[in-house]
């Protein structure tokens, strides 16, 4: 069953003669429980595609169904609620709220869902335990390393058990060791719980654990492959 179905996605920026056509008619289907990597050179449109699929941006043209919900034409508050209840995000540069502790960062989406403080706190602690940040609950983001901050971001993304996690170059700001740890974490998450993950990366090394790699070039999908085939 496809959890994401996108047809003929176009995304243009600017107007008049200064218009930039970034996505030029993309069709993509992602199955429930699939771990997909979107790869491509800088400017290929991979992040732009992820923003369309993750309801952070709206395409100029095309259709997107996520978990059988048409997200095109949704009002802003509906999109916000949809993101809260269905999606999880891991951004390139952690994107944590600096005033909140690790636990509180993880709790935020849970509280917004109406979960009680005690329950949200318990769930947040469990998520932080899962990403190996036991004993760092009360640390502010500024007191954590880049890798630890990204793990908090992952804990925040998984705490609400979203249907899909979108990760936008989650290793871009990390050293190779921390980067590998984050990829391992996402891989474990996918293997253990069958979590659907859509990850944008430009590192082939990090994409090799995915179920499918989608290569983009100049706003179009040029190639799709299963990295497990012919591996051995």
């Amino acid at each position: 069953m496809n959890i994401i179905e996108a047809k003929n996605i176009h995304r243009k920026f600017g107007s008049g003669e200064l218009i930039t056509h970034v996505l030029k008619g993309i069709d993509i289907q992602i199955k429930d429980g699939e771990f997909v990597a979107i790869m491509g050179k800088s400017g290929a449109g991979k992040s732009t595609l992820m923003y369309q699929l993750s309801a952070l941006d709206e395409p100029t043209d095309g259709e997107i169904l996520i978990d059988e919900t048409d997200i095109i034409g949704m009002k802003e508050n509906e999109r916000t609620a949809f993101r809260l209840n269905t999606l999880g995000y891991v951004f390139q540069d952690y994107a944590l709220v600096p005033d909140l502790s690790a636990r509180e960062n993880v709790m935020m989406p849970l509280l917004m869902r109406g979960i009680t403080w005690a329950e949200a706190s318990k769930t947040a602690d469990e998520s932080l335990d899962n990403v190996g940040l036991k004993d760092k609950y009360l640390n502010l983001p500024g007191m954590l390393s880049g890798g630890e901050q990204q793990r908090v971001a992952i804990a925040r993304a998984i705490a609400g058990k979203p249907k899909i996690i979108f990760a936008d170059e989650p290793t871009a700001n990390l050293d190779s060791i921390s980067g590998k740890q984050i990829i391992d974490l996402l891989t474990c998450l996918h293997k253990d719980s069958g979590q659907t993950i859509v990850m944008v990366t430009h590192e082939p090394e990090y994409a090799k654990n995915c179920d499918r790699i989608i290569n983009m070039e100049d706003g179009l999908i040029v190639d799709e492959k299963n990295p497990w085939i012919n591996r051995y």
Partner: protein, 414 residues
């Protein structure tokens, strides 16, 4: 409700983690704004209230009995005085007789009979010195000399504005004589004259005192041939000002209003004084409102810069599903915190420091001892205005930033 809960949480965390010096500075600005709003109008109104207080304490008391409109004197004054004695709520009263006369000084030394005489047209008050002192504290207003005694005759107290030495600042506004304490002066009422020794000089912020002379009532009635004992004014001091209206009503119910006009101090207050008070209040509020505008702009800029610098975090919060209203509330909470704490400190400074200070050390104005007047109810409503404007000043910039495109905020795009 959920947005308020999340907004409160985010707002308090932002305050908690913000730079303490910046927070202190903002609260200090809010405190000054509150003080500006309360103190400026408070001092302007306090000028008039100080004058009112002085008139009440040194001249008119709490209840004033005066002649009916068609009469020159209070009818049945003796009966009224007898009635007043029976009122336990009345702590003091003074019966005043008054008339116009001419006061002349240096007439014995005058050699040139064709030259100008040293005279002044004066108002003479006939009083019972002891009763008057209990009522108005006249003896405390002596600038020089001694107070009158009941058992002596031939002495007069003269208001400072009738004496050249004290009234020279006023030029030729008032008739003045060149005399001092201990000098002999001649009081003339028509063809009747009598010599008096100036026993003391009285001076007050109340012009009615400075422009009056006082002699014992016995001598007054003799000089003015007032054998009926009907006075021009009876002023009453009550035990507490709160019961003035009730005492006034009781006096009227006792039938005194058939013989005299009975008014509380407030009822007898001249309209121009009420109008000045209102005008000063409006003026003070206007000046204070400039402070509110400045404070609201300050809050606007602070919240705008704060929200602008956190634009990306705002985008992320929206991205992970936090409602716009929750984020806006977080900034409104911050503005509310600054306004509440600043106003609270401003109120503490006003009521615990400034008002007691100005009560003890009034600002010296020619016509009053200026106090700081800050009616708690008026202060409360001014606080409410300041608070609401601050909330708006906090909300608008947050709204401007939060409404921006989520992805643009996250990516730092314009």
């Amino acid at each position: 409700m959920l947005s308020i809960k999340i907004g409160l949480f985010l707002g308090f965390r932002q305050i908690q983690r913000s730079n303490p010096w910046t927070t202190i500075l903002i609260i200090f600005v809010m405190m000054l704004t509150f003080l500006n709003l309360i103190a400026v109008s408070g001092i302007l109104v306090g000028l008039i209230e100080g004058a009112e207080r002085a008139v009440r304490e040194n001249s008119l008391g709490d209840i004033i009995i005066s002649p009916l409109d068609e009469e020159d004197h209070i009818l049945e004054t003796v009966s009224i005085i007898r009635e007043l004695e029976a009122y336990p709520e009345i702590s003091a009263y003074s019966v005043r007789y008054n008339g116009n006369a001419t006061l002349e000084a240096n007439y014995k030394e005058r050699r040139d009979l064709s030259g100008e005489r040293d005279t002044a047209a004066v108002i003479i008050n006939g009083i019972n010195p002891k009763q008057e002192d209990e009522m108005s504290g006249l003896s405390t207003l002596l600038r020089d000399g001694e107070y009158l005694r009941d058992d002596e005759e031939g002495y007069i107290l003269v208001g400072a504005y009738y004496l050249k030495e004290y009234a020279e600042n006023f030029g030729d506004i008032f008739d003045t004589i060149d005399a001092k304490t201990g000098d002999t002066v001649r009081l003339s009422i028509g063809d009747i004259s009598k010599e008096f020794t100036i026993k003391g000089i009285v001076e007050s912020k109340v012009d009615e005192i400075n422009l009056a002379t006082f002699i014992p009532e016995r001598e007054f009635r003799r000089l003015f041939s007032r054998q009926d004992r009907n006075a021009e004014q009876i002023v009453i001091r009550t035990a507490t000002p709160e019961i003035n209206a009730e005492v006034s009503k009781n006096l009227k119910n006792d039938g005194m209003s058939d013989y005299a006009k009975i008014q509380t101090y407030e009822e007898g207050l001249p309209k121009f004084l009420i109008d000045i008070k209102k005008t000063f209040n409006v003026l003070g509020t206007f000046i204070g409102s400039i402070g509110i505008v400045v404070a609201s702009i300050t809050i606007f800029i602070i919240v705008f810069i704060n929200a602008m610098s956190r634009r990306r975090h705002i985008g992320i919060l929206k991205g992970i599903g936090i409602k716009r209203s929750a984020i806006e509330i977080a900034y409104v909470i911050q503005a509310a915190f600054y306004a509440l704490l600043g106003s609270f400190l401003g109120a503490v400074v006003t009521y615990a420091i400034l008002i007691p200070y100005f009560d003890k050390n009034p600002i010296q104005f020619p016509f009053s001892d200026g106090i700081l007047s800050a009616d708690p109810e008026v202060t409360f409503w001014k606080f409410v205005i300041l608070f609401i404007i601050t909330l708006i000043a906090g909300f608008v910039p947050a709204w401007m930033i939060v409404r921006q495109n989520t992805l643009n905020s996250i990516l730092g795009r314009k």
